[in-house]
Symmetry: C2
Subunit: 219 residues, 2 copies
Amino acid sequence: MARHFHELLADLKNRLVQMSALAETMIADAVRILVNRDDGGAAGIRQMEIAVNRMQVEIDETCFTLIALHQPAATDLRFILGAIKTNSDLERLADEAINVLNKAERLLREPPLTTLDIVPRMAAIAREMMRDSLDAFISLDTAKARAVLLRDDEVDRLKVEVTKKLLAFIAADPSTVTRAMALILAARNIERIADHATNIAENAIFVGEGRDVRHQLDK
Amino acid sequence: MARHFHELLADLKNRLVQMSALAETMIADAVRILVNRDDGGAAGIRQMEIAVNRMQVEIDETCFTLIALHQPAATDLRFILGAIKTNSDLERLADEAINVLNKAERLLREPPLTTLDIVPRMAAIAREMMRDSLDAFISLDTAKARAVLLRDDEVDRLKVEVTKKLLAFIAADPSTVTRAMALILAARNIERIADHATNIAENAIFVGEGRDVRHQLDK
């Protein structure tokens, strides 16, 4: 029974890693379409989202079964509850990739507005945060998790910068408003991806140290 | 032991109801500041957020303890796992009230732009969805939960309508861009509140029917 439990737990970890890798590919592909204006990969991204959604339901069921049938010890239980939250964040993060894709597709139907290099830079940081936060969660590497939390500010700063630039675009030429707005919202979708990575990093610290670091500023 | 467990479970439900009521007040107050341009209640909203954050941490710990010490039966376990997710949604929904407040405060420093009645209408529906979804979750009333899911489309429709109107404002007079953008983003924050209520309604159906209704369109 114990051996079986640890196999199931290893399988749960593998599936979270697979789900995260899929979501990361979705983000990279959606941002590529946004920047390069070539929608070749759009159908593939939507297929990946279906796979991510299916994985979310399966992972939730696995977590339920692990607790119901195996009554795990405190540390394992904390990990499984953290996995339920991480699973939600991974799915919502994949949703944000679809939101970026929707904006990229809308922009493809109009003349190009600008090649702001800030958006792909934001996306690169967000993807790195995703990868590191999931690694940190799986291996309970709380130092790595804390490093993720620090990078969230950089993404927020870039979002403010890109928004200011695009608002100036609109003020100078109001005919750009729809396109500039789509880019502003895409930047906010990427910011949310970084927020979900931050949540996953907080889950890692919660499980690894048995400490809740959310809302630390309140104290 | 069993009696003690059911007292703890009843206490968990009470605290979710209290947290939801607090978050709903935050939203109502933030939207009132946005619409009436009177920031008298801003400090109170920020105090409420601190209380919501503390409740989130306590509810998570209660759920952990309930499972670790009482090894609940399948139905109760499903409810507690649903409560962990509902707890996250309530906290993020309160965050969106703060996001609305931030935009309202920014707008207060500038001349009034427009009195769009769509934003408070969206907020009224979102609050009703919140209340009904939490009721549905606590009482496992899946019919009520399904009714919440249907109302999400109305909020999305109103968001599209208000965004179009504000984009037209900007196109006609680009000097309105910063203010119009703040209103567009506030409408999106309210849309997210409705999204979190939808998530809670899905949790209610998942617990009540043991069925996962998320991603039903994929099948």
